[in-house]
Amino acid sequence: MNVQRLKYLLKRLGLSLVSLWLVATILFLIFRLLPGDPTTSVIAPQMSQQARQELAAQYGLTQPLHVQYVYYLKNIVTMNLGNSFQYSSPVTEIISGRLVNTLVLMVTSVTLAYVLGVVVGAFLAWKRDTRIDVFGVGIVLVMYAAPVFWTGMLGLMVFSFRFGWVPSGGIHSVTFVADGFWDNYISTDFLHHLVLPVTVTTLYFLSVPALTMRNNLLDVLREDFIEMMRAAGLSEYSILYRHAARNALLPVLHYAAVSLGFAIGGSVIIEKVFSWPGLGRLIWQATLAQDYPLAQFSFLMLATIVIGLNFLADVLSAYVDPRVAVEQANTGGE
């Protein structure tokens, strides 16, 4: 059994590494296939063709592609990711600063969304087919369908521009002075700036866990083992929470890990609407500016996070749901 699980996990790990290598290679190619080159974004009328060449040479872009690729892979393996074209500072430094901002926003939101979502979903399942359920599912669907750009702007217009309850964006007041690093993230000023983006993001992410939980729970409640437990006289509490909820929660857990990965990378719009200096915007700008080192490694990091969280979800599932490892090992994975 444990050998089986280990075999399964090793297999997943291997697959994850291969995926990463593929992603890295595709990233390398994609950026070089885009029209234009990094000097396009730097180019200014005072720059001659010669200055442009000089810049390309400084970026190391005058070398043959395969040489660049080898350097690139070497950089990844040695974790020496080089300097950003735009910022001139080390990629790792730029990314890590932004990553913290994004993580604070997204981990908070996704966690809230999944905790609340599971509760809401369970509640709706409990109230199934009542007016509350129909209404609740409707609201959740609307939140899911509404573009976060739109809800974000609406939130800003109402709560910031109109009533002035929350700031119009950013992570701090313009004149904020932090009292040490942690003060950046625990000061009331920061929390005040965090409220609206977290609310909007949470509401956006809430729908998937809520609907998944609701439907899963309804499915599970129809399962034979639930009926047997009723017949066996187990308490409704034990049936709902010990058995039904745990079974229904599994797929939701898996989603949570994956959503967090996507939330971290797909936060561009939220970050833009709320002027949040996070990773999503960084990647977006780096891509537009064709800042190869920054864009490539940010994407690679996102891919690592998504793939890593997926792997983690697999590991978790293998422990929480004993069927996973065996079934997957037997059928040869996905």
Binding site: Q46, M47, S48, Q58, S168, G169, V174, E271, F274, S275
Partner: protein
């Protein structure tokens, strides 16, 4: 008319949110992006031609259709340009009967095509950066050897005028030459000069007063404004916007926002005044003993932020350091300098490779002075490949501000450097980045920021309604044009280019797209650049009738469908 209205509404809709959807959007043409869509407007109709101008039957063999592609940028990136590209497209199809197609693409493609002159027609624009106030920048853009950006236009007479104007150090005499050069361009129509649209800005006048405006689209981010601004109480000056410096390393700038930040910390010998003309700054005066030699006298009361004196050796070091390591973005400013030497106590001599009348107004106004005692030997000591990779935390300059806090993509807090000779009413200047212009404007309206520049027309109208906020459109010296490839048929024909100019109804577009807030232009130096502008250029407002007559006289014909034909080669 209805069609135009509809388009306009669509344009304004995008314009209002363009600040968010359109990203860095305003620093044209420095934006980037990729992906291409091609859109063809097919609702414009060709006119039925006069019968005597129609060819039919076997005669058609001798003609070919006039067809071309007009390249422009996406709506989300440049909403107004997207609109007027289609408006002009329709005008040309409708009035001349050309077969034209609009090609929409991202910067990576369309801008590169412009640079490499790979287009029939490219809808281009120059933003009003301070370095472009000196007439040489825009005049050189039409010089045969102008390098990038020329539309394959070549006129020896014009080239000579531009070269002469660069050698002429007497301002009035130079002005004459500049006027003449503009005259030639206006007659040759290498491109259809369209308009210089106002830089739209909003300032909070409830909490701050006494702003100083400068021509161009980098309004208010300059020392003159920071010196004159008077806040209530001890409020700092706060710029809210979407542009933001990526680096404050003086050896690493790659975009205009970087220079805008750097110029607060690092002094320049010359600064451009509110009117765009060079003003003494770190230099008290300059003379040109020869057209290719400049003697610059340094102020003697300047210190670096670490307390050391600023010396002429710092100036010579800076130039040599830049030339040694290479900063491509600044290359055109330091490259023309052949050598630099200290000739007197406080005088630095710049020996140029060739005469350059724009040297003070461009080169000296953009080159920073770096402290020798900080940078000399630094790359070697730190083991850096290039000084641009130096992780500076001190930012030792001699400028009016020191860097208190630099939070990437969020804000920079500049504190006034007390030992600087210039006087400020504010104690600090904060540059705050927002995700979109809408949010930035809201901050100004709430009184949490002093100003926001380059807002969209819709936002401008909104700001106008708000008490305590002043919305102002500042005429500027950047401009837009229909670039035609002068090496391709039929744009190699001056008459055809002129006909296009006549058929182009700029006033209507200014009204529709810019709400009237733009100056119509006939040459590359708009009225805002008052000193160098030539107000007496011929204008092309003959409209459809004149355009068609000119084409007919030049040998162009139409087929029965109303499609314009040109004789085969």
């Amino acid at each position: 008319m209805d069609r135009d209205r509809r388009k306009l509404l669509a344009g304004v809709g995008v314009g209002a949110v363009g600040g968010i959807a359109g990203c860095t959007g305003t620093d044209s043409p420095d934006d980037s992006g990729n992906a291409t869509t091609t859109a063809t407007s097919n609702s414009s109709k060709k006119k039925t031609p006069d019968s005597d101008r129609v060819v039919t039957g076997s005669e058609l063999e001798e003609y070919e259709t006039v067809s071309f592609t007009m390249q422009s940028y996406t709506k989300s990136l440049l909403p107004q340009r997207y609109e007027w590209t289609h408006l002009f497209h329709d005008q040309l199809v409708n009035k001349l009967g050309v077969e034209a197609e609009v090609q929409i693409g991202q910067v990576g493609q369309i801008f590169d095509n412009w640079v490499n002159v790979d287009y029939d027609v490219n809808m281009a624009g120059w933003s009003g950066k301070p370095s472009r106030i000196d007439p040489n920048t825009f005049l050189s853009a039409f010089h045969t050897d102008g390098g990038l950006y020329t539309p394959n236009y070549s006129n020896p007479e014009y080239d000579e005028l531009v070269e002469k104007s660069q050698r002429e150090t007497d301002r009035e005499a130079r002005k004459e030459l500049v006027m003449e050069a503009q005259q030639i361009l206006a007659e040759d129509v290498p491109v259809v000069f369209l308009f210089a649209d106002d830089a739209l800005a909003a300032t909070n006048t409830a909490n701050w007063s006494n702003y100083t405006s400068q021509i161009g689209d980098q309004n208010y981010v300059h020392v003159w404004n920071l010196m004159s601004m008077e806040p209530q109480g001890d409020l700092p000056a706060i710029k809210a916007g979407t542009l933001f410096p990526a680096t404050l390393n003086p050896m690493a700038p790659t975009k205009s926002a970087d220079l805008m930040g750097l110029k607060m910390v690092y002094d320049r010998l010359v600064r451009l005044g509110p009117d765009g003309q060079p003003q003494p700054w770190a230099a008290t005066e300059w003379t040109a003993p020869e057209p290719d030699t400049f003697d610059v006298t340094l102020r003697d009361d300047m210190t670096w932020h670490d307390g050391e004196d600023v010396t002429p050796e710092d100036v010579t070091f800076t130039i040599e350091f830049l030339q040694e390591w290479g900063v491509p973005y600044m290359k055109s400013f330091y490259d023309p300098i052949e050598s630099v030497e200290v000739v007197d106590d406080n005088v630095v001599r710049f020996n140029l490779e060739s005469a350059s009348a724009s040297f003070t107004g461009v080169n000296l106004a953009l080159l920073f002075i770096l402290p020798k005692h900080v940078w000399d030997g630094l790359p070697e000591d730190e083991g850096l490949e290039h000084p641009k990779n130096y992780n500076d935390t001190q930012y030792v300059g001699s400028g009016p501000f020191t860097v208190n806090t630099f939070e990437e993509s969020n804000r920079v807090v500049f504190d006034v450097y007390d030992d600087h000779w210039a006087d400020f009413n504010v104690d600090s200047f904060i540059w705050k980045k927002y995700g979109g212009k809408t949010q930035a404007l809201a901050t100004v309206e709430k009184g949490d920021a002093s100003w926001v520049v380059n807002i969209q027309p819709g936002q401008f109208e909104r700001a106008k309604q708000n008490q305590g906020v002043e919305a102002n459109g500042v005429s500027q010296h950047g401009w837009k044009a229909i670039y035609m490839n002068n090496a391709r048929r039929p744009f190699d024909d001056k008459m055809f280019r002129k006909a296009v100019a006549h058929a182009t109804d700029k006033e209507r577009v200014i009204k529709l797209v810019y709400g009237g807030r733009a100056d119509s232009i006939e040459g590359p130096i708009p009225p805002a650049n008052d000193f160098w502008h030539n107000p007496d250029l011929p204008s092309y407002d003959g409209g459809e009738e004149k355009a068609r007559r000119m084409l007919f006289e030049a040998g162009y014909r139409w087929n029965e469908d109303g499609t314009l034909l040109m004789p085969k080669e």
